[in-house]
């Protein structure tokens, strides 16, 4: 009798253990499913953010030299700061590109957890400016006996391969009634200033081209404003957009591109600049300052000492094309591209 009772208890205990084990197993299975689902959802969100961030980063760190080096329809990989993101740049037209970012994450077993991709249409913009005069000014223009404003079209030394033959027209000084700075199009002066590659406040550094250890143009160096003296060199095609605060002064070195001064601007010493200068305030060129291209001064200009301004359609065209940047997002520019 006593043995039978012990036997029933054992059976009940075993049944209870099996039942509990089954319930625990089901709970573990459900938890495992939820964990996997959560991992995938988390990875999906992370990859979505990674792809979005990669596009924003590619636009913020726009590489004009890489972009210009691509042939129409050509593509190049962009350096990615995240191991799970692959970014690329595709050239669609002369001034039209697509940046594509694909972010992908695998699980510990190598299976794909999530993949997200997006693309952003990029259109390069630059201000459209006339190149018929060496100096266009609103307000008084004073020129010292030793200073020169030359309206003849000049091709900078060594630039012949990239330039049209010089024209026979052109004027030295053109007086305007309305300032150019506040009516730039299709890029506004504000967009130019915000999207500038260089920001100058006060005294500018000595401008000089800089190369990275592997011989590429070092766009990160603040004093590197391209290299107009070495056609075919690594920095020959680099035309930065520079924004100078009112009262800024340039004293030496050589550079090229688009210089936008939000106020008075002074170029002095031995500085040489190739391209376009726009000054909202008064422009002063003194000593042996030398500008090749075109200059717009919205509050008059003074050329002192041996300052020289030479009109160059080629320098203007190259500075505007080389200074084109994605200053503004394209409408409907973002699209899914997994």
């Amino acid at each position: 009798m006593a043995l039978n009772r012990r036997g029933a208890a054992l059976l009940v205990a075993l049944q209870a253990i099996f039942l509990l084990a089954g319930l625990a197993g089901m709970a573990l299975f459900a938890a495992r499913l939820r964990w996997s689902s959560g991992q995938r959802a988390l990875a999906g969100t992370q990859m979505e953010a990674a792809a979005t961030g990669a596009l924003d980063r590619a636009l913020a760190r726009w590489d004009p030299l890489l972009a210009e080096s691509l042939s129409l329809g050509g593509a190049a990989e962009l350096p990615s700061s995240m191991p799970w993101s692959r970014d690329s740049l595709i050239r669609l037209g002369r001034f039209l590109y697509v940046v594509r970012a694909i972010s992908e994450r695998q699980g510990p077993d190598g299976a794909q957890l999530a993949r997200r991709g997006g693309a952003e249409l990029v259109r390069l913009l630059a201000p459209v400016l006339p190149d018929g005069a060496a100096l266009t000014a609103v307000g008084p223009v004073t020129t010292a006996p030793g200073a020169t404003v030359d309206g003849a079209d000049h091709v900078p030394p060594g630039w012949d391969a990239d330039c049209q033959p010089p024209d026979s027209g052109g004027i030295a000084v053109q007086l305007d009634s309305v300032g150019r700075f506040d009516r730039l199009a299709p890029v506004s002066s504000g967009e130019l200033t915000r999207g500038a590659d260089r920001q100058v406040v006060g005294i500018a550094p000595n401008l000089a081209p800089r190369l990275t250890p592997d011989g590429a143009c070092d766009r990160s160096a603040a004093e590197n404003w391209g290299d107009p003296d070495l056609p075919g060199g690594a920095c020959a095609g680099y035309f930065p957009v520079a924004a100078a605060a009112g009262g800024s002064r340039f004293g030496s070195g050589v550079g090229q591109g688009i210089l936008v001064g939000d106020g008075d601007l002074e170029l002095a010493g031995t500085i040489r600049f190739y391209g376009v200068i726009l000054a909202r305030g008064r422009l002063v060129l003194r000593d042996r300052a030398h500008v090749v291209g075109t200059v717009f001064a919205d509050s008059g200009a003074s050329l002192l000492d041996q300052a020289l301004v030479e009109r160059s359609r080629c320098a203007v065209a190259r500075a505007l094309a080389g200074g084109a940047r994605p200053f503004r997002r394209v409408d409907r520019g973002w699209f899914r591209w997994p």
Binding site: G93, V98, D331, R332
Partner: protein, 273 residues
């Protein structure tokens, strides 16, 4: 121990055991009922939230590429419905002419193949020059779909009708960005006393098909401009807000249904920047 005494003890044992079983059974029934109520409530809540998620996920995906500009992709912004261009594919066209477009297959992604009569094409046809201030995106209805080749690779040939006087087809970039879209309407509508979220293709002339529900009448759309102010003007809309409210039964009608709601702010990337 005497035999008679042992029988008496067995009867008492049985009564005690029956009483204990009855007590335990009562407790178990009450616990089971409580657990069942909790499970049903959870199931109802989960089901309602799944309906919320389905509605929000659908609209988030549909509105993701909404664009602004001179001709916005949102056509109608009302409390019970919105009409919009829903992007069904994106890619690069290697040839764009006044009557046909060739899309490189390897540079085209789509949720389905384009359908003539239902879908249209948006083409980025601004002249490829620095100072161009052209039309930007140009829309053209798709008249037929076929196969072709382009630059040595397979291509999708789309017949289109485009106004060449208004769109600079010839001066566009070498590879033209294109998007395929249909005009959709998402709508909160009433059916048999309940509110449902449905959708229909306006360009295909479809009637509304239910997507998810049922919800209550508190469900609605709202729209905000770039300053965060409520607006009903489609061209000013920068964010779309969707409130979904619903009820789920607690316990077979014994107690009143429970209510729940969710408010979601959708920020289409091309509008919100």
């Amino acid at each position: 121990m005497p035999l008679a005494a042992r029988r008496g003890v067995a009867l008492v044992d049985l009564l005690v055991a029956l009483t204990l079983f009855a007590l335990v059974g009562l407790i178990m029934v009450r616990a089971t009922v409580a657990a069942e109520r909790a499970v049903r409530a959870l199931q109802g809540s989960a089901s309602l939230h799944a309906a919320f998620d389905a509605g929000i996920g659908y609209l988030d995906s549909e509105l993701a590429e909404l664009g602004a500009g001179a001709e916005p992709d949102l056509f109608r912004a009302a409390a019970d419905s919105l009409s919009y261009r829903a992007i069904r594919g994106s890619g690069l066209a290697c040839v764009v002419g006044p009557t046909e477009v060739l899309l490189s297959i390897d540079r085209f992604v789509a949720s389905r193949l384009p359908q003539p009569g239902r879908d249209s094409l948006l083409m980025f046809l601004t002249a490829d020059s620095l100072g161009a201030t052209g039309v930007g995106w140009t829309a053209a209805p798709i008249t037929d779909v076929g196969r072709s080749s382009c630059r040595g690779g397979p291509a999708l040939r789309l017949g289109i009708i485009v106004d060449t006087a208004a769109a600079p087809v010839a001066s566009g970039p070498a590879l033209v960005p294109v998007k395929i879209f249909e005009i959709m309407q998402a709508r909160l509508y009433n059916s048999q006393g309940e509110r449902w979220l449905g959708a229909r293709s306006e360009s295909a002339g479809e009637s509304v098909q239910p997507l998810t529900g049922p919800f209550t009448s508190a469900s609605a759309f709202a729209y905000r401009d770039s300053l965060g102010l409520l607006t009903g003007t489609p061209s000013l809309v920068r964010t779309v807000e969707l409130t979904l409210a619903g009820r789920y039964p607690d316990w077979a009608g014994v107690t009143p249904p429970r209510s729940d709601s969710v408010h979601s702010v959708l920020r289409p990337r091309n509008l919100w920047r």
